[in-house]
C-alpha cells in the first residue's frame, strides 16, 4: 500500500511513484508505513505499562505515612491501589490478542481507496519515525530558545523553518506569515490580554 499511495512531494498523484521516485535520504531499507510507525504489540505495551506500574508502586510504597493526626486514608493509599490496578491491567494487556491481524487488513483497505488530488505526506524523510523524531526535536529546540531569543524571534524562526521544511512552497507568503504572525500574537497577548510573553533581545 505504501508504494502506490506514496505521492511525490510536489503533489503529483501516486501512480508511477514507485519505480521512478528517487530514494529520499535516510530511507529505511524496508519501508515503514506511516500508519505502522510507533505501533506496538500488546506484549510490548503490556511490558511497558507493567514497568511503569512497578516503578509507580515502588514510589508509592516509599511514601512517608502521615502520623500527625490519625487519618483513615493515607496519602499513599490511593496510589498503592492505583499501582496495583495498573499492574493487573498490564498483565491483561500482555495477554491480549495481537490487533495487527485485523488492523492490517482493514487499514490497508481504507488506505487504498482512491484519493482524488491527495496531498503528499508532509515532511521530507522516508522513515516516518525519523520524521516524527525530527519534528519533536524541532519543538524541543523551539522551547529551548523560547526565553533566550524571546517569543517573536523564536516563533518566527520556528514557524518559517518548519513550514518550509514540511513543504510549503510559496516562500514569500511563508516569510510574511512567519514574521507578522508572531508579532501580532505578541501584541495581542502582551498588550491586549496582559499575558506577557518573553521579549528576548528585542527592546519591547
Amino acid at each position: 500500500m505504501s508504494e502506490n499511495t506514496t505521492a511525490r512531494r510536489d503533489g503529483a498523484p501516486a501512480e508511477g511513484a514507485a519505480q521512478g521516485r528517487p530514494r529520499r535520504p535516510w530511507a529505511p531499507r524496508t519501508p515503514i508505513l506511516p500508519e505502522r510507525a510507533f505501533r506496538f504489540s500488546p506484549r510490548t505495551l503490556g511490558i511497558a505499562v507493567g514497568l511503569f506500574a512497578i516503578g509507580y508502586l515502588v514510589l508509592a510504597f516509599q511514601m512517608p505515612a502521615y502520623t500527625a493526626v490519625e487519618v483513615p486514608v493515607q496519602p499513599s493509599t490511593l496510589p498503592r491501589w492505583l499501582g496495583v490496578a495498573l499492574l493487573v491491567l498490564a498483565v491483561l494487556l500482555f495477554f491480549q490478542r495481537k490487533p495487527e491481524e485485523t488492523v492490517a487488513e482493514s487499514g490497508g483497505e481504507a488506505a487504498d481507496e482512491p484519493r482524488e488530488g491527495g496531498e503528499p505526506r508532509l515532511g521530507r524523510l522516508d522513515d516516518p519515525r525519523l520524521e516524527i523524531g525530527l519534528f519533536v526535536g524541532a519543538l524541543i529546540a523551539y522551547i529551548a530558545v523560547f526565553e533566550l531569543l524571546g517569543f517573536i524571534l523564536s516563533t518566527a524562526l520556528y514557524l518559517g523553518s518548519m513550514t518550509w521544511y514540511l513543504g510549503y512552497r510559496r516562500h514569500l507568503v511563508n516569510a510574511v506569515v512567519a514574521l507578522t504572525l508572531p508579532f501580532a500574537f505578541y501584541a495581542g497577548m502582551t498588550w491586549g490580554l496582559d499575558v506577557t510573553l518573553p521579549s528576548g533581545p528585542l527592546p519591547f
Partner: protein, 541 residues
Amino acid sequence: MGMLDQLMYGFGIALTPENLLYVFIGVLAGTIIGMLPGLGPMSAIALMIPIAYGMDPTSAIIMLAGVYYGAIFGGSTSSILLNAPGVAGTVATSFDGYPMALKGQAGKALAIAAICSFVGGTISVVGLMAIAPSLASFAVSFGPVEYFALMVLGLTAVVSLGGRNLVKGLVSAVVGVMIALVGIDSQTAIVRFTFDLPELYEGVEFLIVALGVFALAEVLVMLNQRGKGGVRKGVTSLRLSRREIAQITPPALRSSVLGFFTGVLPGAGATVASFLSYSMEKKIARDGDTFGEGNPKGVAAPEAANNAAAVGSFVPLMTLGVPGSGTTAILLGALMVLGVQPGPMMLSQNPDMFWGVVASMYIGSVVLLILNLPLIPLFAKVLNTPRTMLVPLVVVFCVVGVYGLSFSVFDLGLLAAFGAIGFLMRRNDFPAAPLILGLILGGLMETNMRRALQISDGAWSVFLTEPISAGLLAVAVLSLLPALVRVLRRRRTPVEPAGSAATADTGDEPEGTRDESEDGSATAPVSGSGSGADGRVPPRD
C-alpha cells in the same frame, strides 16, 4: 421564580453586548477549528482556554460552550465537502453528505446540516432547562459517599464507550488519576511523585495535558497522513425546496430528542448520538436503502443528533459537576481553572452562570445559523489552509497557551512530553478522553473518598451500604459489561473479511461507534487504520 422568569434573567445576561461578542467569537472560532480535519472540539476548547483566562467566568463558559457547538458544526462542513470529518461526531454526516456533494448538492447538504443543527440545539436546550433544575435539587443531598460513587460511574462510563479496547481505556483512566495525584497532597502536605522538582509541587496543570494529548498529538498524527482532495468545486446553491424541508423535518425532530437523551447519559456523546440516529432513520425510512447514496435524511438525522447531544452533555456537567464526556471534561477543567466548581449548588449559588449559559445557547444556535448559511462558501475556504502551514501554527498556539499559564519553560517541556505520550497513545489505540477525565476527577475522587471514610471511621463498606452510592457503583460496573461482552464475543467470532469494513452496512454502525469516544478520539479511526483524513470509521469489532 418560574422557569420562564429565570430564562428571561438568563437572556438579560447573555444579551449584554460583551457576552454577545463572546458567543460570536466562540461560535466562529469553534466553526473554524472544527472544520480543520483532525482538530476536534476538545482541541478547539483547549486552544481557546488561554484566551478565557482573564475573562469573567460566566462570559468564559458562554464563549467555550459556543466553541463546543461551533466545532461540532464546523466538523460537518468538512465531512460534507471533503469526506474528512474534523470531528468524530460528524462522521455519520459524511455517509450521505459527501455523496450529496459529489452529486453537486453540496450547498443543499450544508443547508440541511445548518438547519438541523439549529433544530437539534434548540430542542435540547429546552430539555436542559427542564431536566437540570430537578436533577440538581436531587443531587444537593449528595454527600461525599455519593459523590465518590458518581465519579467512579463517570469514569467507567467514558471508558466503556470510549475505546475499542476496554483494558486500554482503563489504563488511560488509571494513568489520568495518577497524574492528578502529583504534587503536594492538600490534606496532609505530603509531597507525592514530584521527583523533587519544585515545578511539580502544585501538580500538573490540566491544560498542559489537554493541549499535549489532544492538540499536539493530533498535529503529530497529521504529519504522517496524506490529505484528501474531495469536492473543491465550491458550494452550490443552498436553497431547499418545500418538499425537502418536509422530508427532513420528522428525522430532525426525532433525532433531536434521541440525541439529547444520549448526550445526558454519561459517556455517550455526540458521536454515539449521531450514529444511533442515523441507523434509526435508516431503519424507519421507506427509502432506507438509499441511505449512503446522498439521502438528505441521512444528513439531517446525525446533524440534529450531534448538536442535541452536545447540549445534553451539559446536564450532568452543570447539575452534578461530573462531566459525561471528554469534551465536557475539558470544559470542567476550564471552569475549575477559572475558579468555578459546577455541581448541584451551582444553580442556587451561581444562577447567573447557569441561566446565562442556557440563554447563550439559544443565541448561539441562532448565531450559528446566521453565520453559517450565508458565509458557508467563505468558510469553506478554511479547508484550503495547507497543512504544511497549519501544523506549525497549532504548535505555536499550544506553546503560547501553556506559557501564558505560568510563564515557565518547564511547563513547555511537559507539554512536549504529553504531546509525545498522546501521540503514542493514539497510535496504539489508547483513548485519550478517559485520561483527561481521570486527571480532572482524580483529585475530587480522592478528596471525597477521604471525607467519606472520615465520616464512616475508615469503614470501606460505607460505599456499599449507602443505597444511592451502591446503586451508582452497580451502574458503574454494569456500564463496563457491554464492553466486556464485546471483548469476549470478539474472541469467539472470526474476524470479518477486511474489504467489507469501510463499505459495511452503516445501519449497524452503533456497534462500531461504541468504539469511538465522544469527539476526543476524532482521529482515533485515523490513527488506528491509517485511513488518513478519510476518517471513515472502520467498524472493527
